[in-house]
Symmetry: D2
Subunit: 344 residues, 4 copies
């Protein structure tokens, strides 16, 4: 069976398991107050080109989003985001649970544009009753988006320019950042990304770590008293060094880049193969998620051989499906898939 359901189905990349095993017996202080975490932080901030920035580690994406958004917003602020965004759809209301409205804009293949955001902000401030409305206090986007798509450098510049014009922070959810940075179509480097937003997170859970996300802020002042806030949110790991060890490994020997490239290469091979078979994409994703329309008959035949998700309710004759590759996808995906289709 080949598992292409999602990118968090296996434990962790072997190099990370090795690092966790090698350091297992050591005794260190808790809550990230040790050298693994310090080194991981330094490595990440150097890789981002902002050695004076801030970096914190949490265990999962929903927790990270809720905590960062809660820090960046004032009480009576909301966060502007695509209606398709993870925070709006698949985090069980965690942002609202902390009191903040999500101000949704209609997505275009998972993305929202600078001009659309600008119009929204202008309209808000032009409205006489805006004191009775939720002030847009920040912008959230994901890179790659939930639909696998990427913002170009120019698109990010436009969005960030609007944010600076209105003096509100831009936060980028990088749950699958490794696969975004490694995509052939991508024209944004990690260093550039760090200059095109205020805070972002580098996803670990879906990109080779056992668990963990690295929050990066261009300036420390953006995330004041953040350790205490992570504790308040139930997201300060007791054995914080587990996150330090993992991210130190991810940002040594270019592991994070290798993982991204590995996943994206396999996704590209899969995409080309499926297109060569005549299947159509319903979203043209350059990253590790691939979205195809497949006849139900074929979907049935693939059962027990390839595992993947239906995307929404099944259609009558054909259905939308998603294939996801990752660091844990077998490297011989293409020949195996080819053989499976031959045998159908």
């Amino acid at each position: 069976m080949i598992y292409l359901d999602t990118d968090y189905m296996a434990g962790c990349h072997p190099e990370i398991l090795e690092a966790l095993s090698a350091t297992n017996k050591l005794h260190t202080p808790g809550y990230g107050e040790e050298d693994f975490t310090r080194r991981a932080r330094r490595l990440i901030l150097e890789a981002c080109g902002i050695p004076e920035g801030a970096c914190y580690f949490m265990t999962g994406g929903t927790q990270t989003n809720a905590t960062v958004i809660d820090r960046l917003l004032h009480r009576n602020d909301g966060v502007v985001a695509a209606d398709s965004s993870h925070i709006n759809v698949h985090e069980a209301g965690a942002v609202e649970a902390w009191g903040h409205k999500i101000l949704t804009l209609q997505n275009q293949e998972g993305k929202i544009s600078g001009s659309r955001i600008e119009n929204y902000l202008r309209d808000f401030y032009a409205d006489d009753t805006h004191e009775h409305m939720v002030r847009p206090g920040m912008v959230y986007i994901s890179f790659p988006t939930e639909l696998g798509t990427l913002y170009s450098k120019k698109e990010l510049e436009e969005i960030y320019s609007v944010c600076r014009q209105f003096n509100i922070p831009l936060y980028i959810d990088g749950a699958r950042l490794a696969y975004g940075l490694a995509a052939p179509d991508n024209d944004v480097t990690l260093k550039e990304l760090a200059q095109l937003c205020d805070v972002f997170y580098i996803g670990g859970t879906k990109c080779g770590a056992m668990f963990g996300e690295a929050i990066v802020a261009r300036e420390q002042v953006l995330l004041p008293r953040f350790v205490s806030l992570m504790k308040l949110h139930g997201g300060l790991l007791a054995k914080g060094r587990l996150l330090g060890v993992q991210f130190e490994t991810l940002f040594s020997n270019e592991l994070y880049g290798r993982i991204g490239k590995y996943g994206v290469d396999l996704a590209s091979q899969l995409k080309e193969f499926l297109k060569s078979k005549g299947f159509k994409t319903f979203i043209n994703s350059p990253t590790n998620q691939q979205f195809f329309i497949i006849p139900n008959q074929i979907i049935d035949k693939l059962k027990g051989k390839v595992s993947f998700e239906l995307w929404g309710p099944p259609g009558k004759e054909e259905s939308k499906v998603r294939f996801v590759t990752s660091w844990s996808t077998p490297s011989d995906l293409l020949p195996r898939i080819t053989q499976i289709f031959k045998d159908l």
Copy 2:
């Protein structure tokens, strides 16, 4: 000057002022633990045909909505509502501040339909990932809506039938209920309304009271420990009898009905007059809010004579405007408006 901006521009109906004055010197216990409040409660529940129901008083609409919704929802539930609803647009995020997501459906002239709600609920439960989504835990509608429109009895029956099918409560915001019940097109009585939802509120602030809203629940069990919850929400008035005195007056001698009829009659006269002048409505409202498209030239000429609100940004040649009547609109509105238009 004739003020048609909104329906909360004057103090209170003279009969209410008289009642407040007549009782001013009395000493009574606080927090609604006295006979004015008890009588008001009994009068209201009798008028609603549910003598065994529950009735509580709060001072304003946003407070009332936030408190009732907070009571009806579990922590990890959201409220289904029209995107145009007051709670979604003009309450500064009060529902989200208490941790609840508003699950918006696109409105049709301020309304949402039973079938649209049913589809939403079906889709939610059919979704494999729904544990990661906000559960729709209740439905909110307004009667009249924010756009002055009304649900027919049949429409309410359909909505409530869906709610019962999915075992979630229906809550009706009646900020302008007096004007809804009194509308010529309306086919729902107060007693019927009380049978077509679980909780609703009878608006006082916009319907003749100095301030205050009466929350009505078909069964007491729907609003457990509600006095304590009102206190928690900062909405338990120390001199609760002020609310009791007002609602006792509103529900004696048919005052509430008279106020509604008065406001709606004047609105009808205004509507017919404006239509006779060739102006077009952009929403066909049967209640005390009237929505017209008026040439900017005429809008300018009306300045200093009639006061009203632009509805959204002004257009190039003509603009959308709203006229609102109420218990405090002068009874000679029609002759005065007619004269004003003659003099333009």
Copy 3:
């Protein structure tokens, strides 16, 4: 019957009722955007000697406390307060409902001292684990306290000096401020009070208004976007001018001062009378609340003649009771009480 249960048992001072009646028919914009509110604000800030300060109006004390504290605290901050404080005991958890812990210090007759606060703050910052603890982000005191006592000017100076040293705001709950300022023992003027804290509120509900509290901040920057926050908290009154009219009246013709003096004078007379009868106070209050220990036999005999509250559970032979005077207490309290005791 003479009612001495509490100070919010009657409607409002006749001069306020007159002002509300006289202005009842006027049409004005909502939410405090009119001249009554502007004049009230100016009168109050002038009376406080801080014409450049900020002033907002809300309808009740719990609402006011929850909203101001929510504004002054960051998410991961708590408020230092006496264990006997109203916010800790009698607001149904409203401060915690908005996410903030109350950090309690043991009271001394309702008060906490500057040195006790200082020790608490020092200990907090000296604790290695303080990132895991709730940071004391402000101090709350009441003037008069819930037990009728007053801080001296020197005591307030000491408390405020500690707050400034630790750079956290001091907020004073003045629910019964009129009676505190008018107390013979009091050595603090309103102008001085305004210089000895960052934000305080001038109680209306218990001091002659029908309802309402006036929030005063030394600098506008202390309460940013406060109208929107009041809306979020469900505490922005639609007909805001009702609050403006009341506070304009209270701060014209020295009404607020007269009300305070009236209540305190009657309380002093009652206190001297009861002491002359041999009863003992269990708290020595200089304001409108008086706390005495009375034999149960006498308490029984007073029933139907004087109404007042037991303070805590009744004792075996004698019990603690509270008598409260106000603007609505009859001016012939002393002769009537004298006669009642004669007739016992």
Copy 4:
């Protein structure tokens, strides 16, 4: 160096590391929907003697406490707990952040008694103003307590009897449960504990797991829609099987019992040794935390040889210190400590 600072300084027990390594490459569904988690749940519920109960896994203690308490309480309820409890002191206000007040009782060596709880509950319901107060909606205790002490079976029975009498749930924080169950003085079995409360958690983080806590409820109905609530709280681990694998290991081959006994045995040896040296305990703990008063001179000499924590601010001549053993403490602790003291 011997590390006795706390019990979460090393990675995880070798048997758990082995299990995580052995299963690392497997692909499984996320969020605990796989067989490791199912088996772990079954093993735990069997060990607790409640096969029909509910069991969920989260990553850390603060997260677990905040989520369980949030589920067990209604909006306007608080949790009764010792003033020394972890939730009150060291969770950065996480319980209050979710809106709930902690109603503190003074601890006796970390514990609170059934009779003290009963008095508090009685007083609450006897108070006329209790609708204005926070209702005690559940009781929280820890076993062992934060001070290493244990409740006897009789004490637990008394507490739980009070809870049932008032119809509120009892929740036990078992962060260090392994060391409590294994203590020689302990007279409560795991099966008995499960019958003496409604919900408790079995600590993993401090008891041999890399991270993770197992929440156990006697009945599933006590924790409705809990997966969704964990998601809302940011505590639903994507690779949920990591928790399943760890707890399956802990509850196979009696590992959890062995770990507890190992830690407690070493703590007993240390305690006897220190007592034999003439040092005094300031709390008499039967579990893996030991609390001694040690001369500062000796504390200084131990630096670089044994690492441990000062308990509160240092004294002039002697100070309070805490020593903590765990599964990761070297088995030759006693001879090494003996030698170190010889060499002082």
